[in-house]
């Protein structure tokens, strides 16, 4: 274990791969490793991407990776794909679109499946981000599956949130998903070569307002053709500088820490009362007591919290 973390800090990709697996598999060793890794993180600029499936997020990231590489940055990518709820398996194909940056030593790409992450996919994703951060990736892209609630949830933990949309073809009124206008720091209209981009851009412009002194820019791209990528990279860099200078970067880190502490606490509690744990039997007894109307759920919950072993090493 010590070897893996030490190797990671030397920039070893094999160690990074193995550590992310430990996190994904929820192995106890991961907690120790992450503790040791943590002081070495906080340097990378983390950019989260959200947008409906098929909008071209992978292709955009592929182009951005090349652009940032040309600007001398090292890059990490964490790409999340859905796990089949029926079989528990997944086909992870985002690498295909990023294949041409595959053997560049300054690039690390990791595909993650959503799995049934008990502790929350967002936690695991950002633990993986930290591994890449500690390895020395200067920019880390997080690509989510789509634009559902949980994906938005993940993307918004990044420093910079990129919302990707594409113009529709034909005579349709394009409406934005509720909430999508509030979360983005940068809006990308991709596939401008296909549909009527002007309408979508105008629509966005009309609805987007400045927040905390930053008006979200709208960038037109055609990722497959490489159009607009330089501009998007500039915007991302500008936002990083803005966050730094305004102090908002720290604000976002605190907000994320809050979420992560809460979620971790929740996880620990769930684990603490689960089957086979010291308080497992108590949990069972309380459940029966509630069912038999001997006590109520609220009181039972208090009892559980009080009994939670305090000195046990967190896992």
């Amino acid at each position: 274990m010590r070897d893996l973390v030490a190797a990671l800090l030397q920039g070893d990709k094999r160690a990074a791969g193995k550590l992310i697996s430990l996190i994904e598999d929820d192995e106890p060793e991961a907690v120790d490793a992450l503790q040791r890794i943590y002081p070495h993180t906080g340097r990378a600029h983390v950019v989260g991407f959200t947008g409906p499936p098929g909008v071209g997020k992978s292709s955009l990231i592929n182009r951005l990776v090349r652009t940032f590489r040309a600007r001398g940055k090292t890059i990490g990518v964490v790409a999340v794909d859905p796990t089949s709820p029926y079989t528990g398996g997944a086909v992870l194909g985002d690498r295909i679109r990023m294949a041409d940056t595959g053997i560049d030593p300054g690039v690390f790409i990791r595909s993650m499946a959503t799995r049934g992450h008990a502790g929350g996919l967002a936690l695991a994703t950002f633990d993986a981000v930290r591994v890449l951060d500690a390895m020395g990736s200067q920019v880390v892209f997080v690509e989510t599956v789509g634009a559902g609630q949980s994906e938005v949830e993940i993307a918004t933990r990044a420093h910079t949130v990129v919302v990707v949309e594409m113009p529709l073809t034909g005579d349709v009124v394009q409406t934005m998903k509720a909430g999508i206008l509030e979360i983005g720091d940068v809006y990308v209209v991709n596939k401008v070569d296909l549909g009527n981009a002007d309408v979508l851009v105008a629509n966005l412009k009309f609805q987007l307002a400045a927040r905390e002194g930053w008006t979200p820019p709208i960038v037109r791209t055609a990722a497959l053709e490489g159009q607009g990528i330089e501009e998007l990279a500039d915007v991302l860099e500008r936002h990083a500088i803005f966050l730094e200078r305004s102090g908002f970067r720290h604000g976002r880190e605190v907000a994320r820490a809050r979420q992560e502490i809460l979620e971790t606490a929740q996880r620990l509690l769930v684990r603490g009362v689960s089957e086979g744990s010291p308080t497992g039997p108590l949990f069972d007894r309380l459940a029966n007591a509630v069912a038999d109307r001997e006590t109520d759920p609220h009181a039972a919950a208090r009892k559980l919290l009080e009994s939670h072993p305090k000195k046990k090493r967190p896992r």
Binding site: T87, V91, G93, G102, V270
Partner: protein, 135 residues
Amino acid sequence: MVPIPRKIRVLIAKPGLDGHDRGAKVVARALRDAGMEVIYTGLRQMPEDIVEAAIQEDVDAIGLSSLSGAHMTLFPEVVRLLKKRGSGEIVVVGGGIIPADDIPKLKRAGIKAVFGPGTPLGEIVSFFKKAGKGA
């Protein structure tokens, strides 16, 4: 909570120029349906690309598919590069149009199994399951 068994991760790749991806895709789906995580890297991959992806994705096994006859050059090269990178524990298997007398040579070069046309999917799935457990 019952501990979730460790996920088996497999990389399916098409080395070389061959574009016939029917077999690779069918195998990828079968492994997915057996509960594994399959990283599909697409067409026209050089051995270097495949090895780099396998290390970053920390897979248990790599499945190589080639129908163009370039297997004798490309498959052993993947094994060699894995060893060079200190990831020799990753199991490498091959499939495609492979002449019978190439099979022992591939096995000597470190290819753990060779699946020709007509191999039952069940056989391939259970091989990867075992490979995943052993890793």
